[in-house]
């Protein structure tokens, strides 16, 4: 190919404009704001040095966001892995209706978080069929006002949404495994548990790794369901980073302080994902899966 400098830049120009206006400028502006006490309205503001950061680290909402993200991950990732693995195990290689299943299981991914929150709110409302049923057994749970169940409910809604999408990835993973491997193993008298750990898992690992990374990424960006159902409560039990930043910036109008929180959130997110990714790669290598 010969060099096409001019047209190359012309075609890439939408990205350049976008990167300057909606990435570089906001990034610098955000850092600038994080050192001020600006309140989103007043024309006057003062520099506070690192005070916003110190204040943020001490704030229960920020501390909660840090831990809630990991708690959420601990609930959501196993839930979504188990459910998408179950779906993929059942539907891979089916001779008929596989298309119907792939499309059907994907439908929850289309749901707005607002709608799924509304449905769950209805399903869990005080006199819902579900709660009345539980009451027969003397079980009475105020789902969204109990810290642990509120977190689990939000995790379950998001697991519901992503199951079909991840099952699609895992199904493709299962189907890429050569059937001959299993036949050869059967001849060698391999037990079912050996077959899973020594053959299926290593060969499925690339797909599983993708799903793990994607689901961990999702854990850092929860907003809609929490905003709709709990507002971050009860007592910060579901207070995600997005929720905390939204409250500080657009409810309390503390734009300067919220910018500092956003910077902390970004650094924590970036570092966590990087570290988890490295750990997963090491885990895969140590077991000889990669």
């Amino acid at each position: 190919m010969k060099k096409t400098n001019g047209t190359g830049w012309l075609f890439a120009s939408p990205y350049l404009l976008y990167a300057i206006i909606f990435f570089a400028v906001p990034l610098i502006w955000s850092m600038y704001l994080s050192f001020t006490d600006w309140n989103l309205i007043s024309p006057v503001y003062y520099f506070k040095g690192f005070d916003n950061f110190i204040e943020a680290v001490k704030h229960p909402g920020v501390q909660a966001a840090f831990f809630v993200t990991f708690k959420f991950m601990a609930a959501f990732v196993p839930m979504v892995i188990v459910s998408s693995l179950a779906v993929a195990l059942v539907i891979h290689g089916l001779p008929k209706f596989k298309g119907l299943f792939l499309i059907g299981f994907f439908l929850p991914y289309l749901a707005s978080g607002v709608v799924s929150s509304l449905i769950v709110k209805g399903l869990l409302s005080h006199n819902s069929a579900f709660n009345v049923f539980l009451r027969n057994f003397g079980i009475e749970i105020d789902w969204l006002s109990t810290p642990l169940s509120a977190l689990l409910v939000v995790a379950a809604i998001i697991a519901w949404k992503f199951t079909g999408y991840y099952a699609l990835i895992l199904t493709a993973g299962f189907e890429s495994i050569n059937k001959d491997v299993y036949e050869a193993a059967a001849i060698d008298g391999v037990t079912p548990s050996q077959r899973f750990w020594k053959i299926t898992l290593p060969l499925l690992y690339p797909a599983l790794f993708t799903v793990l990374i994607l689901s961990i990424g999702v854990s850092f960006g929860i907003f809609t369901e929490v905003y709709q159902l709990t507002g971050g409560g009860p007592n910060y039990a579901t207070n995600t980073w997005q929720m905390e930043i939204f409250k500080q910036a657009f409810t309390n109008l503390s734009a300067g302080y919220a910018s500092a929180v956003a910077i902390i959130a970004s650094v924590v997110t970036f570092a966590s994902i990087l570290i988890i990714r490295k750990l997963l790669e090491m885990w895969g290598k140590r077991n000889g899966w990669v």
Binding site: G8, W9, W29, I245
Partner: protein, 275 residues
């Protein structure tokens, strides 16, 4: 591992059972939107049906809490369509440059796209809002469209797909005197229909269900998207779950129809993305 005939029947039974569980929330939403108001959220399958929730939604119900649901639907269509169209055009253009053009700085742009794609976007929320506000765009369609006029994910997907298209097609078209825009529009994009469907569906769906951004840049009732309006009505319509389910149907059914309409191409396109 298809297994015996008996095993296969068993797997079909489980698969259908799982499918029903997974789509149950949608069924629950639709049933409750038609349920008699005494039965909303009280029965798993309502026995008395009525259109009252829909009538109430569109006629405005009791004075004071009427809301422009149809206008909101219309707003969602405008914003999602414009935003998705822009994301696809810009995505294909930039990807074409990255995959099929050789120019100084290409690797730098490629790396910048990847870096930005994995960068936590939350840090940009407040200043992006300020940029929109200072540009005098607060409470406009442009405010909802412009910051979402480009998708790095779309660039990434298209770049990978375009790279797999042999250069000979492009060289041949160049010899025939075709411009780069013509090559992209007449040769490369028609070869990319399946991936275009995947990119379109993901982008449109994501845009249609956006909450946070559309919520902070718009204030007037007449500008709200359907998703934001539904979100705002959780409180005021708290005592009217029936109409809330009807509004949810209004929000959800179009996107499902769109998806089912393109499902064949979607399956083909996903084959590529999952490789």
């Amino acid at each position: 591992m298809v297994g015996s005939k008996k095993g296969l029947t068993f797997r079909y039974l489980i698969a259908f059972a799982l499918l029903i569980v997974m789509v149950f929330p949608y069924l629950y939403m639709v049933m409750n939107s038609f349920a008699d108001w005494t039965q909303v959220d009280k029965k798993v399958v309502p026995t008395e049906l009525t259109l009252r929730s829909y009538e109430w939604l569109f006629s405005g119900g009791e004075a004071g809490i009427a809301r422009p649901w149809l206008k909101a639907f219309f707003n969602s269509v405008i914003v999602s369509t414009a935003s998705t169209a822009l994301m696809m055009v810009t995505g294909a253009m930039v990807a074409f440059a990255l995959a099929k053009m050789n120019f100084r700085g290409r690797d730098f742009i490629n790396n910048a796209v990847l870096f930005q794609m994995f960068f936590p976007a939350i840090i940009l929320l407040i200043p992006t809002f300020l940029i929109i506000q200072n540009a005098g765009l607060y409470d406009t369609y442009t405010a909802m469209i412009l910051p979402k006029a480009m998708s790095l994910w779309a660039v990434f997907m298209y770049t990978n797909f375009f790279r797999a298209i042999p250069d000979t097609f492009i060289e041949a078209a160049k010899l025939d005197g075709a411009s780069n825009f013509q090559i992209l529009y007449k040769i490369v994009l028609p070869m990319s229909k399946s991936i275009t469907t995947v990119v379109f569906l993901f982008l449109f769906m994501e845009r249609w269900t956006e909450l946070l951004w559309d919520m902070i840049v718009v204030r007037s009732d007449s500008m709200l998207t359907l998703n934001v309006l539904l979100s705002q009505m959780f409180g005021p319509y708290g005592g009217y779950p029936g109409p809330m389910y009807a509004a949810s149907v209004l929000l959800t059914v179009p996107i499902i129809i769109l998806f089912l309409f393109f499902s064949k191409q979607f399956k083909e396109g996903m084959q590529f993305t999952l490789k």
